[in-house]
């Protein structure tokens, strides 16, 4: 056991931290929130030069060949600074291609992803808003060598700028819900696809994607017909851990900013950080951060080692969701009115705590998975 970052991870961390500090100031974050695209192409290209989109892609497909754990190390930094844009959707959507893509799909797409030429996202949720297979109603019907997709997907992050959309569809509704799911890799330019950005708390460009008689060739199926759900579960698991890593970074910023401010802000002739009522809240913020941190690191390590970790991923996500929201809330409270203003950095994090909570499964969804994993019948 050695719970330190490796030397290579320390380098990755430092590089990411320095890069984001100069290239992604909060002025840009706010600008991007208000922009239509929600990301900066210039920044995206620089990230590609650093190899971020191709971090977990094997070297033979022009990636960096790093581990999943390395990815979470990077995401902790992007969370710490805040990095708007399609990094997480693209990276998480890369996994189904790595896992279930044909050699042809891999050779075609993976180098483009690594070079930053292609943005991918996943269209999973629908009107019901559940992360369970029962919520998938979008239908894919076979027609010759093609499938025709009809349905409406919701909350597909950055779908409006994506080149490809991984679309989770129902191909069989006579079986139990998990057994009739098929995943398609869809070119977003295909006729019949319409995208609209849903206004949301983190302005992170979650989209409604409507599929109206969208024709997709059979060869674009990822994995096998009707057997797509395990791939979705894999994405949700990796996505949950990735989101947790990002959240840990954000939580740390909230704690650091709050502690620093409490040493400067003077009321009643002393820094507010001298009041024990606030000291204990900050101690609790720190404690909840640190208990989250090693829970997430453990899940990331297990995922990276290829160990079964559905339980650990859900334990972490259910826990960190609540910690981030609460630390964010206390960060606002301890700053006072100043942190309620749009121009302050703390609310950027606070708003994202709600988005992070929902992404890849909310607290109650993951608690239910935990309940099953610990043997409640």
């Amino acid at each position: 056991m050695d719970l330190r970052f490796t030397e290579a991870q320390e380098i990755l961390r430092k590089m990411a931290r320095d890069f984001l500090a100069t290239e992604c100031p909060k002025t840009l974050v706010r600008e991007l929130e208000k922009s239509e695209e929600g990301y900066s192409l210039e920044l995206w290209k620089k990230m590609a030069e650093l190899g971020w989109m191709g971090l977990v892609i094997p070297e033979k497909y022009e990636g960096m060949g790093y581990t999943f754990q390395d990815l979470t190390v990077l995401l902790e930094e992007t969370g710490r600074n805040i990095l708007p844009g399609p990094l997480i959707p693209t990276v998480i959507s890369t996994f189904p291609i790595l896992k279930a893509g044909t050699e042809e799909q891999k050779e075609d797409l993976l180098p483009k992803i690594a070079r930053g030429e292609v943005i991918i996202t996943t269209a999973l949720l629908e009107a019901e808003g559940t992360f369970n297979a029962s919520g998938i109603a979008a239908k894919a019907t076979p027609k010759g060598n093609d499938f025709i997709i009809n349905g409406t997907k919701l909350f597909a992050e950055m779908a409006h700028v994506a080149n490809y959309i991984i679309c989770v569809t129902r191909t069989n509704d006579t079986t139990p819900p998990e057994e009739g799911i098929t995943i398609f890799l869809v070119d977003s330019k295909t006729t019949g696809i319409r995208c609209e950005v849903i206004p949301s708390i983190a302005a992170d460009k979650l989209c409604e994607v409507r599929f109206e008689n969208v024709t997709v060739p059979k060869k674009n199926i990822l994995g096998k017909i009707d057997k797509g759900w395990p791939i979705v579960e894999m994405m949700l698991r990796k996505g949950a851990i990735a989101k947790c890593a990002e959240s840990i970074g954000a939580i740390q910023t909230c704690v650091e900013m709050t502690v620093a401010y409490s040493k400067e802000r003077v009321q009643y002739d002393r820094p507010i950080g001298a009041f024990q009522a606030l000291q204990h809240i900050m101690a609790d913020m720190w404690t909840s951060m640190q208990t989250s941190r090693y829970l997430v690191y453990k899940a990331a390590w297990m995922e990276s080692e290829g160990q079964p970790c559905a339980k650990e991923a859900s334990l972490a996500k259910a826990y960190v969701n609540e910690v981030y929201k609460n630390v964010g809330k206390w960060a606002v409270r301890l700053h006072g009115a100043i942190a309620t203003s749009y121009d302050h950095d703390i609310p950027l994090y606070y708003r994202r705590s709600k988005a992070a909570d929902i992404a890849f499964g909310g607290t109650d969804f993951h608690r239910e998975l935990v309940a099953q994993e610990i043997g409640l019948i």
Binding site: K263, Q276, A283, V370
Partner: protein
């Protein structure tokens, strides 16, 4: 970053669990909650028996230098704690083995080490902690019991209180005022004393549940040899702080809760209310899962502390965080389990009690970890002042 244990560590862990599992089979039914060790005669006997079983395997000296009979590594200590916690086995004197021994190894003279370490490793001498006084709790340094040197002896007068197991233990380590004229923190000496010394009177104090885990200890001209001190005379405060750092990382309590969680799950899977199994109730599922999340978080930070300690790095902030977290999780666990049990949540160990009355016991015993070993509010001060660098209260 790597959470994997080495093959050797895995083998050791397996052995610790096997031995503890076997000892569990011999545990008296009255052993409910760890404080039973001190409260009930047959539990104390069992504690001594387990200590001997551990001692003969060298497990009371894990991670010690070999010259004092040490075996294994610091990591073994952690793995052993997991096994004892999970199977709820005493036999590991938290005062002697957990706290005093590492303190002696770091701060005591050679002769003290020679004299006291090996009886601890052999599981022969049990210790108690004689620190708190009626008017010196969190602010321990304001204590007033005196030890005045006369020739080659200290003569001790005053009163200590809340001393866990003082009525059962052979020896005690205490902190006494040796120079009433000197300033705070430089007037105290850390003294080891035989509890059979004439002039020492021990009176058990009943805990709220009726058991007596701790005592008041009165000193009335008790003479103890002046050589039995740790560190320098009048510099005992440094020893107190050193020893406090070896207080429980919580691994035992955390693993005990893991076992309790399994029992809770079983209870929910078997118990019907309003015509439905508790386990089918979504609210109950949600709350049990939440406990599982918090428990895993507690274990994760306990591993973090182990990792730091394995490299001899300071774990001050993390140790305080872990202590706050697992002890308050213990409260939440007790509240929740007694809730779920409905009217049975109030029943003491008896044929009506779910899980042998462990939950009713936990509802009262949870204060052991929140108040002792530095109250949680003091732990929060430590994080705020020493960790986060916030202005210290005067």
């Amino acid at each position: 970053m790597d959470f994997e244990l080495t093959e050797e560590e895995k083998a050791h862990r397996k052995e610790f669990f096997e031995v503890c599992k076997e000892l569990e089979g011999k545990r008296p039914a009255s052993f409910v909650g760890f404080e039973a060790t001190y409260e009930i005669d047959e539990c104390w006997e069992y504690h001594l028996y387990c200590a001997k079983e551990f001692a003969k395997r060298g497990w009371l000296a894990l991670g010690w230098p070999s010259e004092y009979g040490g075996t294994g590594t610091m990591m073994d200590q952690v793995l052993f704690a997991e096994a004892r916690g999970y199977h709820r086995i005493p036999g590991f004197d938290i005062f002697g083995v957990q706290m005093l021994a590492p303190t002696l190894l770091q701060a005591a003279s050679d002769s003290i080490k020679k004299k006291f370490l090996s009886p601890i490793a052999r599981g022969e001498v049990m210790w108690c902690e004689l620190w708190s006084e009626p008017n010196a709790g969190s602010d321990l340094a304001t204590l007033t019991a005196t030890a005045i040197k006369k020739g080659d002896e200290y003569i001790i007068n005053g009163q200590k209180t809340w001393n866990t197991g003082a009525h059962r233990s052979d020896w005690g380590f205490g902190i006494f005022k040796t120079d009433p004229a000197a300033r705070k923190h430089h007037n105290l000496t850390f003294i080891l004393l035989d509890m059979k010394t004439p002039g020492i009177t021990v009176r058990p104090i009943p805990y709220m549940d009726g058991g007596a885990p701790f005592c008041e200890v009165y000193f009335d001209d008790a003479h103890v040899p002046a050589e039995n001190i740790v560190g320098q005379e009048n510099e005992g405060w440094a020893v107190v702080n050193l020893l406090a750092g070896f207080e429980r990382s919580g691994m035992v309590e955390i693993m005990a809760m893991f076992h309790e969680l399994e029992e809770l799950v079983k209870y929910c899977n078997e118990t019907k209310r309003n015509g439905q199994l508790l386990s089918r109730d979504p609210i109950i599922r949600n709350r049990v899962a939440q406990l599982a999340c918090e428990l895993e978080a507690a274990r994760a930070i306990a591993y973090r502390i182990a990792d730091l300690q394995n490299r001899n790095e300071m774990a001050l902030m993390d140790a305080s965080a872990a202590k706050i977290f697992y002890s308050e999780l213990g409260e939440r666990f007790a509240f929740f389990a007694t809730d779920i049990a409905g009217p049975y949540g109030q029943v003491k160990t008896s044929r009506w009690a779910p899980v042998h009355g462990a939950w009713e016991k936990a509802f009262q015993e949870c204060f052991v970890t929140t108040i002792s070993m530095g109250a949680n509010e003091i732990q929060r001060n430590i994080i705020a002042w020493y960790g986060l660098g916030l202005p210290r209260m005067k």
